[in-house]
Symmetry: C2
Subunit: 275 residues, 2 copies
């Protein structure tokens, strides 16, 4: 049982909760809570910490099969990022696909992956961890095939981002791109149509045909897409808005676009424009 907050591994956990650099050096990230720990693929579980109290209540959980380490309740509070810690926390190995894998659908864990046309979210300088995590969660539910992020996006391994994914971080293939301009080129070469979500888009999002390979470029919360990125898209689309609303939350905008793809692909024979 670890009972001291000066234990070096506990200090490392705290560093990983706070800093992307510490996470990247260790090649790990932290997940908390029973629901999230249950989603960790066994081969990626590096360390598992529990309080005695938590273990007593949940000892039958299969997640304990590969071992665990006890920490005192006091130490657990120290290493936890949440206000009311449950008493279970894991250090998990990071894993990102290559851009080629994501574009090719190789990262898809599902059997039908190869039969599914690409449906990819490309994120340019996204900054809010809650938004990023929510996009992962929504992307999985909408049947998206992958997410590609510019390197200056907020870290998906940030604890708040991880929590917001609700486990989709383990199932949604994702990659980092050094240059989104090259990413867009690669997406087009692979036969995908690239749409920029843009307030100045001249097409309504629901008047486009997303049944074949589709990628959406989504920009920063405050500033939208960088000009040079948006300019590489095939088509600029917008979501028609009422009232005096100037824009939508980025995760909301992404959700509306991805579920329009989902809608069209559920009834592929029936697509027609309304205008």
């Amino acid at each position: 049982m670890i009972t001291s907050i000066s234990n070096p591994r506990m200090k490392e956990i705290v560093q990983m909760q706070k800093r992307g650099r510490a996470r990247n050096q260790a090649g790990l990230f932290i997940v908390e809570g029973l629901r999230m720990v249950r989603e960790v693929p066994p081969e990626r579980l590096a360390q598992l910490y529990v309080t005695e109290e938590f273990y007593e209540k949940h000892k039958q959980e299969p997640i304990f099969a590969a071992g665990k380490e006890f920490v005192s309740a006091q130490v657990f509070e120290y290493i936890s990022d949440t206000k009311t810690p449950q008493g279970i926390l894991a250090a998990v190995r990071q894993y990102a696909f290559s851009e080629e894998e994501v574009i090719g659908g190789k990262g898809m864990p599902l059997a039908q992956a190869k039969k599914r046309p690409a449906h990819i979210l490309v994120l340019d300088n996204l900054q809010d961890p809650g938004n990023l995590g929510t996009m992962f969660r929504t992307a999985e539910a909408a049947g998206a095939t992958g997410i590609i992020m510019s390197r200056d996006c907020v870290d998906i391994y940030n604890p708040k981002a991880i929590r917001s994914t609700m486990g989709a971080v383990f199932r949604m293939p994702f990659a980092y791109a050094d240059s989104l301009l090259r990413t867009i080129e690669n997406l087009k070469k692979a036969g995908n149509h690239v749409y920029a979500a843009h307030l100045e888009g001249n097409r309504a999002y629901d008047q486009e045909d997303y049944r074949e390979g589709t990628a959406f470029l989504i920009g920063n919360e405050g500033n939208g897409l960088r000009r040079e990125v948006a300019q590489c898209a095939d088509t600029w689309i917008q979501i028609p808005m009422a009232g005096q609303a100037e824009s939508l939350n980025a995760a909301v905008a992404a959700a509306i676009l991805m579920f329009e793809v989902s809608r069209q692909r559920r009834f592929p024979g029936k697509f027609r424009k309304d205008t």
Copy 2:
């Protein structure tokens, strides 16, 4: 110029930043930042505080026409709820419509209000302030006509909720309901169809006709709708999901439903089911 954090009004501002009770006793709430303060309807502005530095940069802003009070940079940091305060903060009078007004579309600030069929969001025990604020923002953009909240929802005047509305809190009519069961009855009496967003819904959300009066019941983030509330709905709908995703973020689910309404009403002659 207020230079002391023991100034009673500064203490009251801090209390209002932290506690719903303090806000309700004063009948006020706090908004921060130039963008949000600009959105405050003049008749609802109660107090306006700025730093000298902020004022020097923005003195031509029309918001200063009705007066302002200077506070020192140090005091401003004390009263601000944000990490990097801009230097402008207002205390604003609270205002909620009655449930009848929201159902009747009377609260709508827009000229076309009476011509628009109702499109109402009913929120049951929503707990996340960011989600609530985002729903207000999305509702305005989707052309919704109002929001009705159970009294145990998180306070819309919570600073994080207010920020997430991006100003829609001033434009989207909303009301509190003592009993959602009665609310649902009133919605039906007024000719609206009431849909429960439910994981066990037996209809896909995009196969229903929302061109006439429509209300959506949205439940708590973790537990969904209370049984007795969901049971009062006319129809249970769900958003079809792929992968292992168990649910969507509540604000995302509400956005997908509201923008389906928006989509159908933009092309009212063309609705048809896909199945």
